[in-house]
Symmetry: C2
Subunit: 187 residues, 2 copies
Amino acid sequence: MVSKRTLTNLEYALLGLVNQAPQTGYQLCKIFETSPIGHYSSSPGSIYPALNRLEKRGLLHARVERQSTMRPRRVFSVSQDGRHSLREWVTAPVDKNVLFRDEDGVMLRFAFMDAFLQPAETVAFLQQLSDTTSDLIADLNRHHQEISRASEAHTATGTLALEYGISSYRNLARWAKRTASKVANKN
Amino acid sequence: MVSKRTLTNLEYALLGLVNQAPQTGYQLCKIFETSPIGHYSSSPGSIYPALNRLEKRGLLHARVERQSTMRPRRVFSVSQDGRHSLREWVTAPVDKNVLFRDEDGVMLRFAFMDAFLQPAETVAFLQQLSDTTSDLIADLNRHHQEISRASEAHTATGTLALEYGISSYRNLARWAKRTASKVANKN
DNA sequence: AAAGGCATGTAAGGTGTTACATGATTGT
DNA sequence: ACAATCATGTAACACCTTACATGCCTTT
């Protein structure tokens, strides 16, 4: 049994990008700089160490070019184990607590999903996401009622911020349903 | 000139909560456990060290009860410096990059805002938030067009995830405007 | 007198951030 | 020859997470 340690979102993002096409660390840095993938700063200082970790764990394989020089160039590609890890990550159930604590991570999974899943499976994921989100909304509504009933030292803007949170998840649920139809109708 | 080091969101959250009412570390732990404030796990292992840091920097003051025993109890309240820090944090302009990288932090600022600002100032903040969000949406739309035009190795779900991001900021802009009216109409 | 909630803390480990350092290649 | 860009890496630092340890107080 391989070590079950889970990866960070950054590591999964790298794995997912390399899975789309083999890349060097520098190219991956550029992608993070120029595209809104995740909300990381993601400078070389985090990316190269992450790539090295992934290589050490055997999820990524590096083909070394310019080998003789002191500044070799490494082109990464995803190994079997890496693809397996990615698939497990992408297909994991959408847990309510995970959704609450790490919505970015859930969307990251979705973004890399179509390298692994059939449209029908993607639709199922979106349906599950929509359901879990509804559960979360119910929780937040309960909390909203509680702080309204007991007029605590809870501030006005505090309540309004909570309402934003709720509207935010409503938007997620709407998007998930809309997108599920889109994907389904493309066959 | 006092050290300008900025605090973490957790530290600001603690400062803001203690500003609403003096609290012990344990009570603050309970608040994080039972309410959807921020998306932290926020167990004792992060809260107590954070409180100690804030005390060391003179932003929080602890009144010690049960002093003679080996397990004293500390009730925290916010110092002048602490209130000043909070006010500066809350009233800082809404920067586009900050909004993109740390939306939670911006909403946290809003949640603690009414301890410091008049309704009119809160409305101004929301207006600024709405404008900055529109800028961000424009950026994301540009990026969306780019990846549509150049049909790269960009995946279908990747594009859909980007669309979620855009819808998400649209929802934020809507909320900001709606909430601005609400606050304005309450005088 | 035992249980459970109140209350505070430490230690190990991993990760992200910033800033810095360095070498290779390409274009002008 | 020089600058810009390609390309990789390290070091210091701070923070969060998890797990663990400990003691006080109230209720039964």
